[in-house]
Symmetry: C2
Subunit: 448 residues, 2 copies
């Protein structure tokens, strides 16, 4: 009999897992359960369809249902798993009863944090996730005049920009003094806030959510600063691990609420793996557990969980978290952490900063690229980076995460070679300038 | 008396040097000699003004003459140095006679290799370098119907694309079977050749130059494959070090014809430094000396030479040569070397290749990115990389050169985290896919 793996979840982690199992053991039986009507669509594209940068939802689907059948991945759609019995190696499935497994992968993903205020049952509150729901909400958007986005999380930032692009009067509320305040620094976000103003967005910072107001349908959002009338609310509260099933089954849960896993993505219970937004993994430098990372992390973790569940060997290492996203007319990004997080964690750092450019100064389309590098005092090893610019932010973020991981110093980055070609890169790479400025500051201060 | 540094050359290396001296010793006397009317313009932009991507020449100037005066750099324009006496620490200067120095920096740059064929004295042969000359040639281009570009060097590739963009019927001749054959692989250049065809470029490969034909003004280029009638020839032969002065003064010259320097950019003669295209520096892996690198290298070398000439300490390390340039409708680039060079040097390698994408598959403007990685068999340490794509080639080339330098393996690159955000990056970074494919191939072949 083939080895059977059951996967709970049809998101990036679940499908990465399914592929991983098949890669390690092509004969394995793989069953995927999802509550949704579809797998293999990219939720990440949804904000951009709403913003009309992407013309339709159809192209967000990555593969047809038949393709999964063909590769031997048996997806059960609109099917809930309601319990796990790790001793019996079975799961309880709505409409299917008790189903056995040899190995189990829990990839139940994330949920938006409950806003915890009155009015949560009103119509007109949009939690962006399921693509079928998004297609319906998109029709609604055509008649929305005023919208409120609750919290400047990554999704909140994307949706704010998208709704503004859509021509909707968009208000953003957040309890912090600037957007993305728990990951990005204020100076990185300042140009984003300015470009939002140009787009007509009204941002309300230092403002807490008090409730949703309305008769049946939401008509306003109550805040610490008064009521904001609106036709629609995008609830983009922070992501929390959806680990209820796992916790009920006795899997060890960590301090963030995410399932605890080792480098093999194995949970505390033999035969049970977990991956994606339902788990927590350590930050490479601080070892602080992180939850709610990205689809890219979920996919890679899924692959690792799947390979190991399928009898192979693969390790998933601590993370250095390159990140990036368009925001207003800018692209922001970074790796590891910025000043805000370093300060909050009490991690000492020295800074190297530069206001660089993306192409030759004289080449049409040249854009500013601001780079901030944080290094450990003394060793000058890179411990974090943040950027705001347009071109090449994603590639630089990927690189800087590797630079943190491999312990590159300001010296390494300051002497790094770079491409100079007017249409694609400036004489001085902004990362090099930032590291060089960092060294110059230290020299001036007599600390080098 | 202040320490006096004489710099021969007002290009990237010469001006980088001047800045380096002043950084190390703000009181130093710095005199720069150049044969040209200007310093501090970017020759790199010239092809793009000809191609009308950049609207005018004025913006290629980086600083005004007054700005150099203000920072205490004394530039002597249109002034030739005709000899160096390293024993007396003097140079011979046209119109100035014998001029003393404490330290000397030779930054005499490159020359295009003499084509060595009859007709080299005809009018209508354009050697792209000096900006004043370029401004005159740009007027000539308005009436040029048919042009021939001699040799598919980096500048030849840029000028071919530019002349085609300008609407000129452009022919390219080169003795090799594909463009940039001594640095780029055939498969990397294939899409470029196709996009040139779309632009109406006629490329003549495996074709040698026999001479320039005409009465006073060039009217055709004679080749091994017959005559090509034309109104203008761009002579973009390969770059050679302009090291005549240095050689005559007894400075040690290397196998490439470039001035030999150490990590301080010091030549074989005490008190004399050199930098830029006039020198040769070792490749980081092969230690093979390289000449004719880029303006970015020239600038960084100049800075090192200047700091050391000014009494400071700075090292310039062996190079891993990130490179990149637009070519046709593509951007090509890489680091270290590709298959062609590895094969020519007898360096064994294993390959990891991927045809990736620059954004989410469904995001408008997504472009293919082909990545080829070469690794040392066994250790699987990266030894070279080549790419063809559009977005993010320059940033990836910079990163890959650092990856070669720091000995990253296919394993490191295959497990690297990456940003996934639909508008700026795909779920799977092409570099990661290439490394993963390389590992998969090895596994299939039982070599891992
Ligand atoms: C609008 C939006 C935009 C995003 N943008 C980006 C982006 O730009 N870049 C990026 O990297 N990531 C992005 N993400 C990804 C996201 O932030 C997560 O990291 C990712 O979705 C996590 O994947 P996952 O598979 O762990 O969980 P989820 O995507 O949350 O999937 C969970 C799966 O589990 C299933 N499930 C849960 N409970 C049960 C149960 N009891 N029984 C059966 N099935 C169950 C669900 O049906 C679902 O299929 C975006 C997500 C959204 C929603
Ligand atoms: C058209 C063009 C496009 C380019 N594109 C790029 C690009 O996209 N990216 C890139 O990185 N680089 C580019 N380059 C740069 C180039 O390839 C070289 O690497 C760079 O110019 C080398 O700088 P250098 O200062 O060493 O020498 P050069 O630029 O050759 O300067 C030599 C200097 O020495 C002076 N000189 C020489 N002999 C004497 C003498 N006897 N007396 C007095 N002065 C003397 C000359 O007047 C000149 O000022 C381009 C160059 C050109 C011409």
């Amino acid at each position: 009999m083939p080895h059977k793996t059951v996967i709970i979840g049809g998101g990036a982690a679940g499908l990465g897992s399914a592929g991983g199992v098949k890669a390690a053991d092509p004969d394995a039986e793989v069953v995927v359960y999802t509550e949704f009507e579809d797998v293999a669509y990219s939720p990440c594209g949804i904000p951009y369809v709403h913003g009309q940068e992407i013309p339709d939802f159809e192209r967000l689907f990555l593969a047809t249902k038949e393709q999964y059948v063909q590769v031997g991945i048996d997806v059960h759609y609109e099917t809930s798993v309601t319990g796990i019995d790790t001793a019996a190696r079975t799961v309880q499935v709505t409409g299917e009863g008790t189903v056995g497994y040899d190995t189990l992968i829990v990839a139940t993903g994330f949920e938006y944090a409950d806003p915890g205020v009155p009015g949560g049952d009103l119509e007109g509150l949009y939690y962006v996730k399921n693509i079928r729901a998004a297609m319906e909400w998109d029709k609604v958007l055509d008649s929305v005049k005023r919208a409120v986005v609750v919290h400047a999380t990554p999704l909140g930032v994307e949706m704010t920009t998208s709704l503004a692009h859509r021509g909707i009067e968009t208000h953003l509320i957040d309890p912090n003094p600037w957007p993305l305040a728990d990951m990005a620094d204020a100076d990185i976000m300042a140009p984003v806030e300015e470009s939002w103003r140009e787009l007509g967005v009204v941002a309300h910072f230092n403002t807490t959510l008090k409730g949703f107001v309305g008769q049946g349908h939401v008509s306003a959002v109550a805040t610490s600063d008064g009521e904001l009338p609106c036709d629609l609310v995008v609830v983009a509260t922070h992501k929390t691990p959806n680990a209820r099933l796992a916790a009920a089954a006795g899997l060890k849960i960590g301090s963030t609420g995410g399932i605890v896993v080792d480098e093999r993505m194995a949970t505390s219970v033999p035969g049970v793996f977990a991956a994606g937004d339902a788990v927590e993994v350590p930050h490479g430098l601080t070892r602080v557990p992180l939850q709610g990372l990205t689809g890219s992390h979920a996919y890679a973790q899924g692959k690792t969980a799947g390979v190991n569940a399928g009898g192979g060997t693969r390790a998933y290492k601590a993370v250095y978290v390159p990140w990036g996203t368009p925001a207003g007319k800018w692209v922001i990004g970074g790796a590891s952490f910025g000043e805000t997080t370093a300060t909050a964690l009490g991690i000492p750092y020295v800074l190297g900063q530069a206001q660089g450019i993306s192409r030759a100064r004289y080449y049409p389309g040249v854009k500013p690229v601001k780079v901030k590098l944080l290094a450990e005092p003394g060793s000058l090893r890179l411990i974090g980076a943040q950027m705001v610019g347009q071109e090449g932010i994603k590639e630089r973020a990927d690189f800087l995460a590797m630079a943190v991981k491999h312990g590159f110093t300001f010296h390494d980055l300051s002497t790094m070679e770079n491409v100079y070609s007017p249409a694609i890169g400036a004489l001085n790479e902004p990362i090099v300038v930032a590291a060089t400025n960092g060294l110059d500051e230290l020299r001036k201060a007599g600390k080098l």
